[in-house]
Symmetry: C2
Subunit: 345 residues, 2 copies
């Protein structure tokens, strides 16, 4: 139960009664707490504060260690539809999620990892099952990306390509470069302000964007593995070996390279974006010079954009843009998935 799980709990505490949602179980990496139906909002709020203070669920009076009780067996006793929500960043959940769907429990993911593992595991997870599967929050957080694609596919449209900028962190970085800031200074600033992962190479390497691109590619029927996504990282391979401190020092050597690439782009009326492209012919993630006045070029700061071309939206695509990261909008994406499922009875 990390920041997204906490934001979701706060949302449900605010609106859950109206929505007739009821927490049955809260889990983190240490253990879980089983909540009785009569558990008050006050008790749930106490658990939330406990987590927000950086403490472990297993240390709660009601906390159990994983393995002590089986959540899936406990869920058997629940009335109404049961939704298992994965807001972790762990790949270990996948077998449990797959099993849960087979047993009729619905699954909602903010966690990308179960969707980008080996194809056979992806197919087992996403195949026909009594329980539904939704994962809106995995791409663009609360932006209606996956549901829009689902709607197009359901009404018989054919998705020809999806492209866009799926990383708020990298969007922020390129806005700073446009403002004339050096690459190394922009990265260090973003890192210092907590806009990047603790090691900024996780953002700069492009893997997170590649995962999102693969999720979209697989959704439109491309049976690819993650290693088949062509990724251009924003630092040379040899810098992977450095310590974090060495890396943050060493990136000054990249300043001229990116300043020059930006200047070359701008000389042609273009600017730089970290772009993902998905189509039936392949999946690429990397630096691209795009028209300043175009859809991607017009982005500012951490905004995400998804540009969908289909049989119906061909000459002019369908575009969705907005903030695509942060615990609150991610939790809202998860909640909208839950409500879609629960609304169906």
């Amino acid at each position: 139960m990390g920041r997204v799980g906490q934001a979701l709990t706060r949302l449900v505490l605010g609106h859950g009664r109206r929505l007739r949602l009821q927490y049955a179980c809260l889990a983190d990496s240490t253990g879980f707490v089983w909540l009785a139906e009569e558990t008050s909002d006050e008790a749930l709020r106490e658990l939330l504060v406990h987590k927000e203070n950086g403490r472990k669920l297993v240390d709660q009076p009601l906390g159990h260690r994983h393995g002590e009780l089986s959540p899936i067996e406990q869920a058997d006793g629940l009335e109404g539809p049961v939704v298992l929500v994965d807001c972790t960043a762990s790949d270990e959940m996948t077998p449990m999620l797959t099993e849960a769907r087979q047993q009729g429990t619905h699954v909602v993911l903010a966690n990308k990892l179960p969707l980008v593992g080996p194809l056979a595991r992806y197919q087992a997870l996403t195949g026909q099952a009594p329980g539904e599967l939704r994962y809106e929050a995995t791409v663009g957080a609360g932006l209606p990306v996956i549901r829009t694609m689902e709607g197009l596919l359901a009404t018989g449209d054919e998705i020809q390509s999806v492209q866009g900028c799926f990383s708020g962190t990298l969007g922020y970085l390129f806005s700073r470069l446009e403002d004339g800031v050096r690459y190394s200074a922009a990265v260090r600033d973003a890192w210092r302000q907590g806009y990047t992962e603790p090691d900024p190479r996780e953002d700069l390497g492009g893997l997170d964007v590649a995962r999102k691109a693969l999720i979209l590619a697989r959704r439109i029927g491309c049976a690819w593995e993650l290693h088949e996504v062509a990724v251009e990282p924003l630092y040379p391979a040899e810098m992977s070996e450095l310590s974090l401190e060495e890396f943050l020092q060493g990136i000054s050597t990249l300043d001229d390279l990116y300043a020059q690439r930006l200047a070359e782009s701008q000389a042609q009326g273009k600017t730089l974006r970290y772009r993902a492209q998905v189509s039936g012919s392949g999946c690429q993630v990397g630096l691209a010079a795009v028209a300043q006045q175009g859809r991607l070029g017009a982005l500012r700061g951490p905004e995400n954009i998804v540009v969908i071309r289909t049989g119906r939206y061909s000459a002019t695509p369908l575009t969705i843009a907005g903030p695509g990261a942060g615990p609150e909008v991610t939790a809202a994406g998860v909640l909208s998935d839950i409500l879609d499922i629960v609304g169906k009875g």
Copy 2:
């Protein structure tokens, strides 16, 4: 059964079997045809061709005049969920739509008129009823505008404002002005190519955009009447009295006005758009100078854009853009509503 109804029928003929949809009745202004469950796709296709050739349903061998049979009574015998789809541009349907929902028939609208009539009728139509009501196609055609707003509201967000460009025709017009074409020439071209209504004053008057703005305003809880939407038409009131021919002649007198307004905007790095603005404090539709590099200024041609600001999406809004008119995307919006309802069982 006009162009949208025909496009919808073509869509259902293409995908209806997979979607387990079945036409029960087709209607136009002259009458209706009741289709038995065993009616083949071939028979439906013949009816469609009949309509596409500009003929009337009442002239079909199976055609009935309105009043001869009650469609609602006939619908009583149907199995599974029944959806009444209104793709007309008539206000006369409203009582029947309201009654249908009360009797458990679901209602899907591409027709804006039932949603913009007197408030009491709107409230009767949209109030609690056993049958659901959806109207995605009324704003932005197939763009996911209403469902995105519904999702935000359902998850407890607060919609603070919606603004955008909701008229493809007026978007096209302002792109031509930016290309240096005179106002009168741009209007006459658009009219000649069939991009406007038969009388272009219907587009230029802004009423259609005002209707869309009111639909969004009412959805976020503003209890306003259509006359409370402030509308700035793109021709002076005295030109309403002219014949179509006189009007198309007379608009040359407006060329200097709009050329000057555009030049003034451009001198400030802005451009002109026909903008709708909806917030709790009011609803305005009219000409606006907007930043060339902003979201509205970046629009090209007939593209629509909807910019939603909420509690969660405040500093940076949620934006949806794309083609917002045309029978095919409108029909797709209708079909997505039908599938949402049918998917719920």
